[in-house]
């Protein structure tokens, strides 16, 4: 193991933008003696520090691994363009922030895949580390490359590059993977043996042990294991109860996104919105009880010195004790200078009451709601029912309780959407603005944020297709003009970057060639507006002879085998299909806490369901 030449590094750091991204040295960073441990894990988030350091999953694993005396974990992020150029020029391989050790010298490289537009950065990160990008090119001298995170529920597009995927919650899984690695290491065996050993762990998917058979028209016939003792279907892992909150969150020396204490109050969501990937893959709902939340906040404040706190969940209002929590958080912190944000609130006046409970701990900014669709018909299609009356009443409450900025999230391009549904978004925004102006005049601001629908794997809409970008652009243009006239702020995603996310999230194994080719062509930082260049991708599709439309333009047959069908979220395909058909009939389903719809999750995990009363699961 050789450390990076510090002098050379300092020289290049002097000339790059925000060099603080590359030096570590933060409060609560853990720097262990390299030789005092058995196994060294590099945890990578393949985007810049400013984004990656805010990732909760990474922070949880970092702390859990470093809590073990026989292990160490260090962090690595993608260098920004200027730093990459300098590193390549000076032949400096990618290194960890803590000890400045080259990534290729670690035993295990664990990569977070939170979203798909990060894939080319994974290849770039491996390449910058001097590690061959393809799994088959790597041997026992290279780190074992594993990946986890929300995008791994369709691992196939990255199958050529990742040795093993950890599917689902990683808190227990990571140690089982490390344990298998340690056992294998002591046996001095080959890589294939390691991979087989990993594949025996429940929740681990080793793509090289599976093969895909196709029909002549390109659709998948079947995916099957090519070796014994590995499962046909890989069921995700879940943590039966939420892991203990982070005790020593790293306090970045430079400003990052979400620069605050993060306390996860609930994982999963019972709402059942049909477009929502997170809502399916994170089932069942597990919530943290109020005492543990308060303790986490107290620890967090003392360990970080932050004056901002965010209580994280997919749907804060749905925590069964949310009112007690907000009251207690206020009592706990009323003498402090702390700003507490409570994202993802339901559209009802009660949400405003919740914020009121926080009194002067309420953050300044604005209030955010997510109606997602503006007509009753579309709301039934996506299973997010909401009465306009309640919406406007809530908006009235929000403005009358002193908020002047209101942000509303909507989606376009949803299955079965008509122009009138898009018009209704504009109409609603104008009515909302009118309510605000009646109360506060021109001081109020309404901000509408438009997301374009992507038929995500594992959701009831996985059989649907993506709307073509031209038609999406027309809808955006319509909204832009209308909002401009009414002086309502509008933000939206570029239709072509939505397209990329759709290809990558729905892709199969063959897409690996396209990703590699696009990266060769220059694609990286695709998640960035200024980074994404569609030409790299179209050229890559051309060069590989793979048709992009195949992945997103077809309405799927109900019996089509999807590339991700061998990865199970615990929710059955039958249930998803039933949901899809209900959506086409415009039928909604009530919150599953009021009665089980038999999605399948309980069948898969009932044996690990805690029976103590203080570890609440959303399932009835």
């Amino acid at each position: 193991m050789t450390l990076i030449d510090k002098k050379l590094l300092n020289k290049i750091l002097y000339h790059v933008e925000k060099p603080g991204r590359y030096v570590g040295g933060e409060h609560n960073m853990v720097l262990k003696d390299w030789h005092s441990v058995d196994t060294r894990v590099a945890l990578a988030f393949p985007d810049i520090y400013d984004l990656g350091q805010a990732n909760l999953g990474l922070s949880i694993l970092y702390e859990l691994i470093n809590d073990r005396p026989d292990l160490l974990a260090e962090r690595v992020f993608s260098p920004w363009h200027d730093m990459e150029t300098a590193m390549r020029e000076k032949n400096i391989p990618l290194f960890s922030l803590e000890s400045k050790t080259p990534i290729k010298d670690f035993d295990i490289l664990g990569i977070t895949l939170p979203y798909e537009s990060i894939y080319t950065n994974v290849l770039n990160l491996l390449d910058l580390s001097g590690i061959p990008i393809r799994s088959t090119q790597r041997n026992t001298n290279h780190p074992l490359v594993i990946a986890g995170g929300q995008a791994c529920f369709n691992p196939e597009p990255m199958a050529d590059f990742i040795d093993a995927f950890a599917i689902g919650d990683g808190e227990e899984l990571i140690f089982e993977i490390i344990h298998a690695y340690q056992e294998w290491e002591s046996q001095n065996s080959d890589k294939k043996t390691l991979l087989k050993k990993l594949a025996e762990i429940s929740g681990v998917y080793v793509p090289s042990l599976y093969e895909v058979e196709y029909f002549d028209d390109g659709r998948i016939k079947r995916v099957f294991p090519v070796t014994d003792d590995v499962p046909n279907i890989i069921l995700k892992r879940i943590s039966p109860a939420l892991p203990p909150p982070i005790k020593k969150q790293i306090v970045p020396n430079i400003q990052i996104v979400h620069d605050r204490i993060a306390v996860e109050i609930m994982r999963g969501c019972t709402r059942g919105c049909r477009f929502c990937h997170a809502g399916i893959v994170n089932r069942p709902v597990r919530q943290r009880n109020p005492e543990d939340i308060l303790e986490a906040i107290e620890l967090g404040i003392k360990a970080t010195g932050y004056e901002d706190l965010s209580l994280l969940s997919l749907s804060s209002s749905d925590h069964t004790q949310i009112l007690d929590i907000t009251k207690a958080v206020y009592e706990q912190n009323k003498s402090r200078r702390l700003s507490v944000s409570l994202p993802s609130l339901r559209i009802e006046s009660f949400s405003v009451d919740l914020m009121d409970e926080l009194k002067d701990l309420r953050p300044g900014g604005g209030f955010t709601i997510a109606p997602e669709a503006a007509t009753d018909r579309m709301r039934a299609v996506i299973n997010k029912p909401l009465d306009d009356e309640i919406l406007f009443e809530t908006v009235e409450t929000i403005f009358s309780h002193g908020w002047l900025n209101l942000k509303m999230y909507y989606m376009i391009g949803l299955p079965g959407e008509r122009m009138e549904d898009v018009e209704a978004i504009l109409d609603t925004a104008r009515k909302v603005q009118k309510i605000g102006r009646r109360l506060h005049g021109n001081r109020i601001r309404v901000h509408v944020s438009i997301g374009t629908f992507i038929p995500k794997p594992h959701t009831p809409f996985q059989w649907a297709n993506s709307e073509d970008p031209e038609s999406v652009q027309k809808k955006i243009d319509f909204l832009r003009e209308g909002m401009r006239q009414s002086k309502i702020k509008l933000s939206y995603n570029r239709p072509d970057s939505t397209l990329l996310e759709a290809w990558l999230s729905r892709g199969d194994r063959r897409l690996g060639q396209v990703i590699e080719q696009a990266w060769q062509n220059g694609a990286k930082f695709d998640a960035w507006d200024e980074g994404f260049q569609k030409d790299f991708w179209y050229k890559a599709f051309d060069e590989t002879g793979i048709k992009p439309d195949f992945y997103i333009n077809r309405l799927r047959d109900l019996d089509e085998v999807f590339p991700w069908d061998h990865i199970s979220t615990g929710v059955s395909k039958d249930f998803l299909l039933e949901e899809y058909e209900m959506s086409q009939r415009g039928e909604t389903r009530y919150d599953c806490r009021k009665g089980c719809h038999v999605c399948g999750i309980l069948d898969c995990f009932s044996d690990i369901r805690p029976n103590q009363n203080n570890t609440y699961w959303g399932c009835p």
């Binding site: 002097y14 060099p19 409060h27």
Partner: protein, 214 residues
Amino acid sequence: MNPITPFRVRIKFAKLENLRFIGHLDLQRLFERALNRTGLPLRYTQGFSPKVRINIASALPLGFVSSAEVLDFWLNAPVDLQEIQASLQAALPKDLQILDIQEIPNKAPSLQASVLSSEYAIVFPIIYAQDDINAKLRNILAQETIPVERRGKIVDIKPMITTHAFYEEGDSTILHLQMDSSATSNVRPDELLKLLGIDPADVIIERTNLIFEE
């Protein structure tokens, strides 16, 4: 009005290694959070969004190390200085080291207003022959004016450079400089280095002293 007389504390600290790449605003935020972690009875600024009241004497350019940074902060009650130093040091990253701590009369003038100049030690690696730099520097300083460009404007930095001297330490040549760092007259050592044709990234620039108005 806060009825308690504020307890004003001044620390001198070193900024080393990794932390040299953390800029002024980030350093300010870092100290706010570190002070928060100490649990000391901090005093906050007045106004709409109160912040921990701190005052850093002089912004240190990115990439420089220092053994002479100075910062004031205010407490609502007197606390033993050694206790403050211990708890603040424990809350700081290891590349920020407190060198000295003292109580300052609350009415003392603000740090920024009383900084006059800085002393720097610029460490040249062996590859730079001392005589060569020395000769170049002598030529530059012999000029009537030393014009440098700042945001499109030409500024004469000659009157801002107080002293310079070379000395040897081990294998390295060190250039000692004293130059203005006040609100009205301010020059950076790397401005001079550029005139010498030296990439500031090739040398180590350390601020070794801050000189204040008496």
